[in-house]
Symmetry: C2
Subunit: 178 residues, 2 copies
């Protein structure tokens, strides 16, 4: 994996554009991966991410009990794998094997990273106050990794019902926003 450690102060720039992510967990010796789009930055540094993992999802229990997960960001060349992960449940399937995704050890969490993704955020659960009501977890990013060779990655963005926007061109604008 030609990934480099990525400054935590820049993590917001990976998630603000709103990519579909693959969330990985490990619980009782079983790794799992699910496709997610319901997440937002909550704080720059340390980076906090708010993320919905539905209690209907197999991953919910793993996140709740292990209080850990990893957010992996795929690009459009992984569309088939992303859709496969979104269509199936880890309850009955080893999605890594089924979709040819390669689990690699993380540095700060037990959840594996997905080698094929261009970026990874290792997270711990920092706040569960909105977990019961909205299945909403506040995650703190402990460690981040990015494939430095991939600039302006062609991420996938979910429009719903089989429709996905693929990231277009990156433009520079005279913004002073962080």
């Amino acid at each position: 994996m030609a990934k480099r450690s990525f400054p935590l102060s820049k993590v917001y720039g990976l998630l603000e554009p709103g990519p579909v992510v693959l969330l990985t967990t490990a619980h009782r010796g079983r790794a799992n991966v699910m496709a997610r789009s319901w997440h937002t930055m909550l704080e720059f540094e340390p980076p906090l991410v708010g993320c919905v993992v539905s209690e209907a999802n197999f991953s919910f229990t793993a996140v709740r009990l292990t209080r850990q997960c990893a957010i992996n960001i795929p690009t459009a060349d992984l569309s088939a794998q992303v859709v496969g992960c979104g269509n199936a449940s880890g309850r009955h399937l080893d999605k890594f094997e089924a979709f040819g995704l390669t689990p690699v050890p993380a540095s700060a969490v037990d959840a594996p990273l997905i080698a094929e993704c261009y970026a990874h955020l290792e997270c711990r659960v920092a706040d569960t106050r909105l977990m019961r009501r909205y299945n909403f977890f506040v995650l703190e990013v402990l460690s981040a990794w990015v494939d430095a060779a991939r600039r302006d990655p062609r991420t996938l963005h979910h429009r719903g019902r089989g429709s996905f926007m693929v990231a277009g061109p990156t433009v520079k604008l005279p913004s002073v926003m962080r």
Copy 2:
């Protein structure tokens, strides 16, 4: 405004791709608009949106006290206006006038809609439990409007530090995710 009422059940598809939005408020006779990227869907229907509005922002007090706002979604042709709104504070500036944005009355909230945007979500504040800790508001979308003529809108997506991704092509994939 050639906008049509948009089904609340489909609102998630407008926000899931992660566009920069223009959040409007009205408080004590003053309308304001700010650029935001920190938001996520929390529930399909009624649509709930989690949204960070920093207490450092002039809009924070308006959202907190009026418990209302509107989320307007701009496209890339409004880049200059979006950046202008992001760089300035409403404390000292009428941004509608400064950036040539046209306020139009909403149906369910006092906050104005921005005529130039392609979609609008009229919102009430539904939950403030994470407001103090993370400046995070849970918003319920009461009414939604979309310019039906604009399919696959070229939305803006913030990468940080003056860098924006412009929405690329929309592709259909065999996803059964909602």
